[in-house]
């Protein structure tokens, strides 16, 4: 963080790049884009399915990153987390704004939103992350797992999850909470 990575041989961190982006450095932005866009698009497309819509939202996210890099505070978390959180948020916004895609998604049904671990990734780190999350999700009850995956990977609100799973909304709320607490403990998250 002290050295923004301009003259060193090692690749700069996303945080260092974001710091330069905040100064209006477009080369740094391009590097940051190359480093993070696949993750951003991957997450957005997980929710939206449609590729061209997903690229549109990805573009919006990166424009927002450009505009708001000046407000990024690395004391509050990493740059990748900031960007991925923004991506999820914008994907959810798009899903909720688009009634037709909602209808389509509801027809597709729940199965499609469950995590798909069959797809082979060549990137070891991501594979490890996949497996860790898969194991942790496997420790949840069926209802917890369905509720969490519908909410996060489907972008559904808890009331929609309630409709889809045919359980009372209060139950969905508690299952989302105790499911996430279980995941937190399985994944060893502490802040």
């Amino acid at each position: 963080m002290d050295d923004p990575g301009r003259d060193t041989g090692v690749p700069p961190t996303p945080e260092a790049l974001l710091e330069r982006v905040a100064e209006g450095d477009r080369d740094a932005f391009a590097q940051l884009y190359d480093m993070t866009a696949p993750r951003v698009l991957g997450l957005i497309k997980r929710l939206l399915k449609d590729h061209s819509q997903s690229e549109e939202v990805t573009q919006e996210v990166f424009l927002e990153i450009w505009q708001t890099a000046t407000r990024f505070d690395h004391n509050k978390g990493g740059a990748s987390s900031w960007m991925l959180t923004m991506a999820h948020r914008r994907a959810v916004d798009r899903v909720r704004a688009s009634q037709s895609s909602r209808d389509r998604d509801t027809k597709i049904g729940i199965r499609d939103f469950e995590t798909d671990y069959d797809s082979v990734t060549e990137q070891v780190e991501i594979r490890i992350e996949h497996e860790r999350v898969e194991r942790a999700l496997g420790r949840l009850t069926e209802l917890q797992r369905q509720a969490v995956t519908l909410a996060y990977y489907g972008g559904f609100s808890h009331s929609e999850v309630s409709d889809m799973l045919h359980v009372p909304i209060g139950t969905v709320k508690t299952r989302l909470r105790d499911g996430m607490i279980r995941l937190r403990d399985e994944l060893g998250v502490a802040s």
Partner: protein
């Protein structure tokens, strides 16, 4: 495990709302519930801690998703767009200290209501050329709308600062983008390209950023219009010389105005003479 023992100045326990931490972390609450939950967070350090942890946990679900390489066209488009997109000014002093405050909607950003409003078509009773069915492009604009007044989910998303020391100069696109109440919406032009309207009701100004619009023959020009009901005012002509054009509209924006772009004879027209290639509705 977090237990809401409501000690050390925390607010009284509220079991119903406190169960929303999971849904909040997963971004599964509606607007009203999110606000209520955030207000609750401010009172309860334990709940705040739990929510921060669950938010981090949700991120791991995101990191587990397989990356997808975007098309080269997207990269080119994004890198091109930032050339015409000003950045927000830095905050001089962070005035927010906890999750709840950071996530609260800015009081001066009317974001909560804009999405719904923008989705509403102009009443058909007030139809003119720019409102006829088939000409209404507002739905498409809303579908790609992205609202900066909206509050982000991560700790990083600070509300628009009312203390922003943006220069307020009419005709300055930077001032519009830096306005605390700036909003934007985007739509494709029927003739190719994409237009994004940025507006600030506080400044009563708006600007369009047009990318990839078709160049016009020498006898034609693009013209911008402020449209309010049956009242249509020219907001100036717009030359498209390159791939990206940013232009501040002439005249004052009134809240809820629709901005239309038409193709007119060179020099512009007093009133539109053709069907708009795009209509963007402010809120």
């Amino acid at each position: 495990m977090s237990k809401h023992s409501s000690t050390s100045g925390g607010g009284p326990m509220n079991p119903d709302i406190d169960t929303l931490s999971g849904a909040y972390a997963l971004n599964a609450l509606d607007e009203a519930e999110r606000e209520a939950f955030e207000a609750r967070l401010a009172d309860d350090p334990d709940l705040r801690q739990e929510t921060a942890e669950l938010t981090d946990t949700a991120l791991l679900l995101g990191y587990a998703v397989e990356p997808i390489t975007p098309s080269p066209a997207l990269r080119a488009s994004v890198l091109d767009l930032i050339g015409s997109t000003p950045q927000l000014p830095r905050l001089s002093a962070p005035d927010v200290t906890d999750v709840a405050q950071e996530r609260r909607p800015a009081a001066d950003a009317p974001a909560a209501s804009t999405e719904a409003e923008i989705l509403e078509p102009i009443p058909l009773a007030r139809q003119r050329w720019f409102m006829r069915p088939g000409v209404l492009l507002i739905g498409a604009a809303a579908a790609v709308g992205l609202f900066f007044g909206g509050v982000g989910m991560a700790n990083q998303f600070t509300p628009s600062p009312s203390t922003s020391s943006a220069p307020i100069a009419a005709g300055d696109v930077g001032a519009i983008l830096a306005a605390s109440d700036v909003q934007h919406t985007a739509s494709d032009l029927s003739t190719g390209g994409k237009a994004t309207l940025y507006w600030s009701n506080d400044l009563q100004r708006s600007a369009v950023v047009v990318n990839g619009a078709t160049a016009l023959p020498s006898g034609k020009t693009y013209q911008l219009w402020y449209i309010k009901g049956s009242d249509v005012k020219s907001a100036g002509t717009m030359a498209v010389n390159g791939n990206s054009v940013t232009q501040v509209l002439q005249g004052d924006l009134q809240k809820g105005d629709t901005v239309g772009i038409t193709v007119e004879p060179a020099g512009g027209s007093k009133q539109p003479t053709s069907t708009p290639v795009v209509a963007l509705q402010s809120a």
